[in-house]
Symmetry: D2
Subunit: 180 residues, 4 copies
Amino acid sequence: MRILIVFQSDYGHTKSMAESIAAGAKAVAPESEIVLQIAEQTSNEDLEHADVLFFGTPVHMGSMAWSMKKLVDQGAKLWMENRLEGKVGGVFVTGGGFGDAGGGVETTMIGLHANFLEHGMMVVGFPKSLPGYADGGLQWGAYARCATHEGMPKELSATQQVGARSYGAHVVEVAQKLFA
Amino acid sequence: MRILIVFQSDYGHTKSMAESIAAGAKAVAPESEIVLQIAEQTSNEDLEHADVLFFGTPVHMGSMAWSMKKLVDQGAKLWMENRLEGKVGGVFVTGGGFGDAGGGVETTMIGLHANFLEHGMMVVGFPKSLPGYADGGLQWGAYARCATHEGMPKELSATQQVGARSYGAHVVEVAQKLFA
Amino acid sequence: MRILIVFQSDYGHTKSMAESIAAGAKAVAPESEIVLQIAEQTSNEDLEHADVLFFGTPVHMGSMAWSMKKLVDQGAKLWMENRLEGKVGGVFVTGGGFGDAGGGVETTMIGLHANFLEHGMMVVGFPKSLPGYADGGLQWGAYARCATHEGMPKELSATQQVGARSYGAHVVEVAQKLFA
Amino acid sequence: MRILIVFQSDYGHTKSMAESIAAGAKAVAPESEIVLQIAEQTSNEDLEHADVLFFGTPVHMGSMAWSMKKLVDQGAKLWMENRLEGKVGGVFVTGGGFGDAGGGVETTMIGLHANFLEHGMMVVGFPKSLPGYADGGLQWGAYARCATHEGMPKELSATQQVGARSYGAHVVEVAQKLFA
């Protein structure tokens, strides 16, 4: 199986989540090809080559970072020919999160899902029974709030990393069933 | 496989879609148990008994009809114990649709997806390569606008029914892979 | 000015927010009529009678509680005749919030906004410069997470109440400008 | 009053809507400064200089075009200092729209609203009693579907232009009340 994890990272938080997701994926599919890559270096060929796509982004003003959005828009050519149809997708998001819940994480995740669904992909959410959900999950995917109450950046916690890892493993397990 | 199609219908449009979805499901899984049922007669046991759940609703003021919402809220007990986790879900929506796109169908579908994902279910969208998408689809599921330009009710068209049928078949095919 | 605050409350959290919003409204418009009322006791005449409407709900499985949804659906008759057009609306939400951000608060608030906008109302959000935003706000309105990390109910904090109060005052101040 | 209309346009449809919105704005505020500008040429100073902001975009894969998103992200600096708070915002969207309702217009509009609300701005929707709503409106703003059933580009209709014009006028009228 070929797994591509594409992300945009500001302070390294989203990259750190990407690595935890990769670790989870590797644990359940040790011989799979796993590639981590930033959005700006990702081509449509890269997307098409993969069986499983993870898209990760910080929340920027209520939705995905513009460099992720540029990648999404570039995918319109693949959409026209249904080139990503049937692939499996997962999403992960980090957020500075000012306000009681960190504004914009849901709209960001829903936007990423909408894009995968538009391609005819299978989108996999994050079941709350998995390890790390309470700290690193939302129903749509992995989420880690990376800011203090005052909005200052802070590192991902160990339990947030557990969430990202178990989500990465789960998405790949679903893909294994679908591609069996 | 046990397939439960739950809906709320005002003028019979959503019921009509439910029947097309059932026909599509039956075509790919002839020996499966297929039950159509309105929301108010649906118990948590019914939800738990099924392997595949379709939820259908008209758009009412921008989201699902309140009787569907009541069913969704009632499911909170199942959610606490992860009783629907791993089941497969699909959604279908009809809309009177005043305004250039019929306001509220996306928020309605996204709301239904959010609920299925919260239960840890696998949500299946509608790939645009399937028959009937242009008339009866959106990336999140089956959709049929059932109103004239002036907002008066009108019947589902034959091509909208084709869309619902091919979506029903597709969701069940995905479930067959996941439950194999 | 006539201010109607309609809510559904499970454990008293949303009712408590409603009271803080009322206090904020009263502070800036002392002679206004302020009514607090649960959804099930609210008629279309009540909605039409008011100049400013606040709708408040707990998050139930990713969107507003069904009794609020029933009130929203009942409003379809007013919508047909544009009877709420031009009124001012604000929203407030409480959430048990399992998962890193409390899943569903954004979809709940966006759903309430969508309904107000459909009526042609003016929707007022919560500017982050106001007191209490960091604890009791999101861009769409007042929000208070009322659960511990384990998902057990807990009281609204004093700073969450400050947020609800300053939001209530802000919405009424905007209404005063619009109705001057 | 200073009115800034920022947009991204692919085939000229969104630009055409921008011009209708400008015409509507001019009709109700003849002495106002009205500037039309593409996203890439828009600075934070431009945003701060305006009293009323219109953001317009085609739907690209379910949300705003990336050049608009880049502008939105660039606005984070203004957000930190609440520099756009209290300004009035309106949104307009064009969509190729494959599928029965044109997928993605609602998520696009909700995304633009979320951004304006995050800045503490007043967002103005499109009341359905205004001229042109049935062809060029949705509750969140002006919308014109610019594609045939097969997804090929087509010109904005005269009634879609009427919708954009009446929306532009309405937003400015609301601003006049708020800034009086």
